[in-house]
Subunit: 434 residues, 2 copies
Amino acid sequence: METSRKPYSEMSDSELSQELEALRKDYHNYQAMDMNLDMSRGKPCREQLDISMGMMDVLNSSSDLVCEDGTDCRNYGVLTGIDEARELMSDMMENNPDNIIIFGNSSLNVMYDCISRSFTHGVMGSTPWCKLDKVKWLCPVPGYDRHFAITEYFGIEMINIPMTPEGPDMDMIEQLVSEDESIKGIWCCPKYSNPQGYSYSDRTVSRFAHLKPAATDFRIYWDNAYTIHHLYETDQDYIVEILAECKKAGNPDLVYKFASTSKVAFPGSGIAAMAASLNNLEDVKKQMKFQTIGHDKVNQLRTTRFFKNIHGMVEHMKKHAAILRPKFESVETIFSENLDGLGIGEWTVPKGGYFISFETLPGCAKKVVAYCKKAGVTLTAAGSAFPYHLDPADTNIRIAPSFPPLEELKTAAKLFTLCVKIVSIEKILEDRSK
Amino acid sequence: METSRKPYSEMSDSELSQELEALRKDYHNYQAMDMNLDMSRGKPCREQLDISMGMMDVLNSSSDLVCEDGTDCRNYGVLTGIDEARELMSDMMENNPDNIIIFGNSSLNVMYDCISRSFTHGVMGSTPWCKLDKVKWLCPVPGYDRHFAITEYFGIEMINIPMTPEGPDMDMIEQLVSEDESIKGIWCCPKYSNPQGYSYSDRTVSRFAHLKPAATDFRIYWDNAYTIHHLYETDQDYIVEILAECKKAGNPDLVYKFASTSKVAFPGSGIAAMAASLNNLEDVKKQMKFQTIGHDKVNQLRTTRFFKNIHGMVEHMKKHAAILRPKFESVETIFSENLDGLGIGEWTVPKGGYFISFETLPGCAKKVVAYCKKAGVTLTAAGSAFPYHLDPADTNIRIAPSFPPLEELKTAAKLFTLCVKIVSIEKILEDRSK
């Protein structure tokens, strides 16, 4: 790492112009490579999918598809999921099986349905949100674009909450929720957050559990998407279990917790789950029984028999880590090699999850993404990690290293740093000329 | 069949009392058998599930899980379903693949979501129903209890429409929808209807397609649940395809059509689909893209590769028919043998679907179901086939012959006719004594 480099801001116009010329030549070389690389989403790569192929052998036509309590999984019924699936997911989510409902293949769908239900039927007897003049939501930023898309779709007014490496700004949250009854929820990705890879500190979780919202129907949407998605076998983040903490704080109904096996086995063919207090689950079931007769129990059985138990799942996650770790480390190394000391970007170095969050100089993110695109590398659209796609400073870019093959990823990472350099110089020169 | 029997209504009090005494003795014998039989739901039986076990061998760890257009079905994506699943379902539903969206495991869930979406976001730009003072719905009766449960859950006022062997009373429907803008939909089970097994006549379908609803956001919920669920290989019902008919009538957006493979392969592990005009599908997709990244493509692939094509599916349905046919015929034979000529009940004789609809004397249905229950046979609760569980005449009982083994079913059918006799005599005597 060349920390002895001169920051761009300290370079003269002519030094920068000279540098820019060289960088542009380099850029043309990348363009000539005719790349077509998609780094826009947190998609597992082919090798990661391959390690779950055993899932396809778990059940065959000689299998007994009867689950532990005697239910024939092939037939209708069992609204909240088979016992063994609830047990496995409860171990993954660190909750009691009684506090778990198993759903279909998508936890996002469960979150959507929770908000939709709150609009049409309220929360545990509250006024349906569709009858209210205004519904607001807290959105730690940068955050997960699909979360924000749901609240935007429902016309909910979203309020940005700045993120820190300890979690969102709790002072701001505490004040807002205690004052404003129209604030009905907050999106949280508490562990290896999307996109930073931050994990909430013990103090943050505790403050969440002790919130005193003005709205009785306020719920924390605790999307623990990356709960067991570590990159390292020993150097792992731990977060305090939120349901237990809420119970201790006398706020047992404050939180809906979500997780799924989408990034454990096959995305799109996993099982999603929700953990919450019995009161909350009763409320959910009141609706759920009208919506479906039950989710796919054969797939619940397949998933459970494949992993056997939480230990099997943890061992399985090590295989994912072995594939993802070099990818994350390569990106970080290339970023350091090419950008350290230049003062034109900062990035997170997560121990798990699916993303690295990059911060450019103000007003550069969109242009960097556009330049990468023109050279064949698609990144998540700049601004996506903010409500309404509005990144106020235009600085944030989400890097998703999982999907491309390692060598291509390295090329893309190099191209990315090149684009950051070009755009930064252009910006500095432009600012100076004003 | 002893058609020479004397109807109960023509028997004297003492004749009836004598008959009742004998019947009650018989009833006690059934009670002593200590049966525990569930005929409450339209569940396939074990033998029916067994014929789909090949589904578990279609995919294994050596399978190529890439679908025809090159998509890796193991990963995220493909919101509306893989091409081959859309093709298979389009053949099953008699629509163009372009007019099909594939969903998760439950068509009921799709119907629920359609109504929920209409409440929160309206239909193709209409006012969201939650903003309206009143939403009403037409319910052909008797009908499917889970349909009525959804509309009841959303606080929709349900209006009973009498059913005939040709379909619902179209005069009434035409008048109501043309006059009342608050009527937003109708539940239809057009083929082998639940619970009668009636199939809508050509004239009925045509009149549906030509409806002129006052509400632009009125939709026909066409739940073609039993579209290929015939009991006989040649003597089958055909119904006119509704989407095409609506298009011809200049009403292309009037209908949402639903189907699934729940009663083709495994209930709960099938694939559900919706067919509608491109305008309607665009409207659905606008919401769907916020709700999920996509449904279970591996299961779509498994289902499609198992059946291969619609011919494979049709051949598969013959195996179901071979199991179900003797069950339906046994029930009908026992009903005839024990009830013909007595003037105390009528029943339908469907050529497909999952149910037989039984009509008792007025005011007897609840009691018959209660008597069966006390002797160990659970039927669908009387009144279930009506909105708010209110059967005005208390005459309708839904018989679900699919689940019990044939011999037990025969016993249950005999017990049922015995209960009908007892309750009818009690009712006649009670009426006479008034």
